[in-house]
């Protein structure tokens, strides 16, 4: 591939990547892939991609002028590897052709699924003690049940959590899990946590549908560990939250 053509494709691909990331950032979907904490870096990278594309477009124009002025034909001795360009099409193809979908229960088989979560440092639980029980998310409750030696003070507290529905054969028919994925860095390190919901109408909610569960906290034993159970007073269907994952 002649160098000038290579440069043009390079600039177009940089621009395409930049636009793709900008659209994802604008729609708030970057958090489907990475931790909220790293979104600013990706946005900075997106701006830098725009600068690179602009530099290459200017360079192409300049090279064209030079070629006209000096009748410069020495370009042909450079043969850049066009495979570089093909590879950059892969993320664009995957990103554009496959609809955006947050990790859900279909990933449990490979990514793991936990009701006790050996996942977060205990030093962050201290702050949880002071929080309002209604403000705690699934991760907070799992942390409390993992790291507090005595959980009795928490039993009977009111909880309100959002998550998606999952079932397995460890729980009874009038129960389901309300679960969330936890992402430390990006979707590659995601793993699922879940707490049990107890409700007579448990069967009416479909797997992977998102629900807001309110009710009283109690406890049950699962895999020899005490896990939090919500005695549901109300269960509402809700849309997928803007940030589907929790961040430790």
């Amino acid at each position: 591939m002649p160098q000038r053509l290579y440069r043009s494709f390079q600039a177009l691909l940089l621009l395409a990547l930049c636009i793709y990331l900008a659209v994802k950032a604008a729609s708030g979907q970057l958090t489907f892939y990475i931790n909220l904490r790293f979104v600013p870096f990706t946005i900075a990278g997106t701006i830098f991609l725009a600068i690179l594309a602009q530099t290459l477009f200017t360079e192409i124009r300049r090279a064209r002028q030079l070629a006209l002025e000096y009748d410069d034909h020495d370009e042909h001795d450079h043969k850049p590897d066009s495979a570089n360009l093909w590879f950059m099409l892969i993320p664009l193809a995957i990103g554009i052709l496959i609809p955006t979908r947050a990790l859900d229960s279909s990933a449990f088989a490979t990514k793991g699924f936990n009701t006790t979560g050996p996942l977060v440092s205990s030093n962050s639980t201290a702050q949880l003690l002071g929080t309002e029980s209604l403000d705690r998310n699934v991760l907070d409750w799992i942390k409390i049940f993992n790291y507090e030696k005595d959980i009795t003070p928490y039993l009977g507290q009111q909880a309100s959590v959002i998550g998606f529905v999952y079932r397995d054969d460890q729980i009874s028919e009038n129960q389901f899990y309300v679960s969330r994925f936890v992402i430390a860095c990006c979707a590659a390190d995601g793993f699922a946590i879940a707490m049990v919901v107890d409700s007579p109408q448990a069967q009416t909610f479909e797997k992977d549908s998102w629900v807001l569960v309110k009710g009283m906290i109690s406890s049950m034993t699962l895999n020899d560990h005490p896990v939090p159970v919500i005695q549901a007073a109300s269960i509402q269907s809700v849309p997928v939250p803007e940030q589907p994952y929790l961040f430790p």
Binding site: L21, L56, D77, K111, A184, A188, P248
Partner: protein
């Protein structure tokens, strides 16, 4: 086509056709499967979705860091001249390796960005031991990663052992390479793209220099991005089909648990700037020594960095760069497990 490192006359390297074909096939399968009614292949479609999400997770996360590394490489190319570099660093192996290990404090790059930058520094005359120890140490011994590790683990043992062990491993591998005097035996020849790379930038204005640096950044972003993408495809595919629980279930003994964490470090392929937060999740399930070995080995070697190394180094050198840190991290992790279980 310009060959920078002296090598015997070779034919132009053929395109890795198999790689391209594999990847194109993957894309084709993805596209084809998106046209089939979802209900028929819902299980397969789920896999495809997981693959896409994990792949884009790794890729999107890595983009800013790869850009940072390639931009640093571009800046070095236009602002640093070779005489300065050779004056800056000693040719004595130990001094060079130690100096190289600390260069990450000036160039804060992670494992994606460090590869193009190291290659550039070699081109500018950096001694081999210094470059190798920079390559292995910089993803940890740099301000950003030190702060993120401290944020995850506090200014405590885990941070200090991580820094100390990384330093020891990087310097050791650097010294191993000091035996080799001929760079051509270690590095693959570089095929440069544009006139920017061979021009003398000394007389340019600042604006011209920045422009030159940006063009090199773009070129290297594509050249290295290709291997990042190949690595991310592989890592995402493995994660889509190999259950993590299978790895975690292998064992928690003093030796097996270290092996499991080393395997996980390679499989997850996450950036060193953030891996401390991931490692935090394993405290409790895994011993101090196992998590420490994850934190030391992960930034040096994972699926995407192996693929990127093999672009820059000869195959035998890649083997040294991968295996020596593996053995040292393994031994360190096992010792910790026996001393403080």
């Amino acid at each position: 086509m310009v060959i920078i490192f002296p090598v015997e006359k070779t034919a132009p390297r053929p395109l890795p056709k198999t790689l391209i074909i594999t990847v194109l096939l993957v894309v084709l399968v993805l596209v084809a499967s998106s046209m089939i009614p979802l209900s028929v292949f819902s299980g397969l479609w789920d896999r495809v979705n997981i693959f896409a999400t994990v792949f884009l997770g790794i890729f999107v996360e890595a983009i800013p860091y790869l850009l940072l590394g390639t931009f640093a490489s571009g800046l070095v190319e236009v602002f640093v001249d070779q005489d300065q570099m050779s004056k800056l660093l000693s040719n004595r192996p130990v001094a060079a390796a130690v100096g190289g290990a600390f260069m990450g404090m000036i160039f804060p790059v992670c494992e994606c960005g460090v590869v193009p930058l190291t290659r550039r520094l070699f081109h500018k005359g950096l001694p081999l031991p210094a470059g190798i120890s920079f390559l292995l140490a910089a993803p940890v011994l740099n301000p950003i990663v030190i702060l993120s590790t401290a944020a995850a683990f506090g200014w405590k043992e885990m941070l200090f052992w991580r820094l100390g062990l990384t330093f020891v491993v990087a310097v050791s591998v650097g010294l191993v390479f000091s035996v080799e005097k001929d760079m051509g035996n270690v590095l693959r020849p570089v095929l440069t793209l544009s006139h920017e790379h061979e021009r003398d930038h000394a007389g340019d204005s600042i604006g011209e220099k920045i422009r030159g640096a940006l063009i090199i950044t773009a070129d290297e972003f594509f050249e290295m991005g290709r291997y990042l993408i190949a690595g991310a495809v592989l890592a995402a595919a493995l994660q889509t089909f190999i259950p993590q629980s299978a790895l975690l279930a292998i064992g928690t003994g003093p030796v097996l648990s270290v092996l499991v964490m080393l395997g996980l470090a390679v499989l997850l392929s996450i950036c060193s700037t953030v891996d401390a937060f991931v490692a935090l999740g394993f405290i409790g399930t895994f011993s101090f020594g196992s998590v420490l070995s994850f934190l030391v080995f992960g930034p040096m070697v994972d699926i995407k960095s192996i693929i990127m190394y093999s672009q820059v180094f000869q195959r035998r050198s890649v083997a040294y760069i991968v295996l020596i840190p593996f053995m040292m991290s393994l031994v360190a992790g096992i010792i910790f497990n026996y001393v403080s279980p």
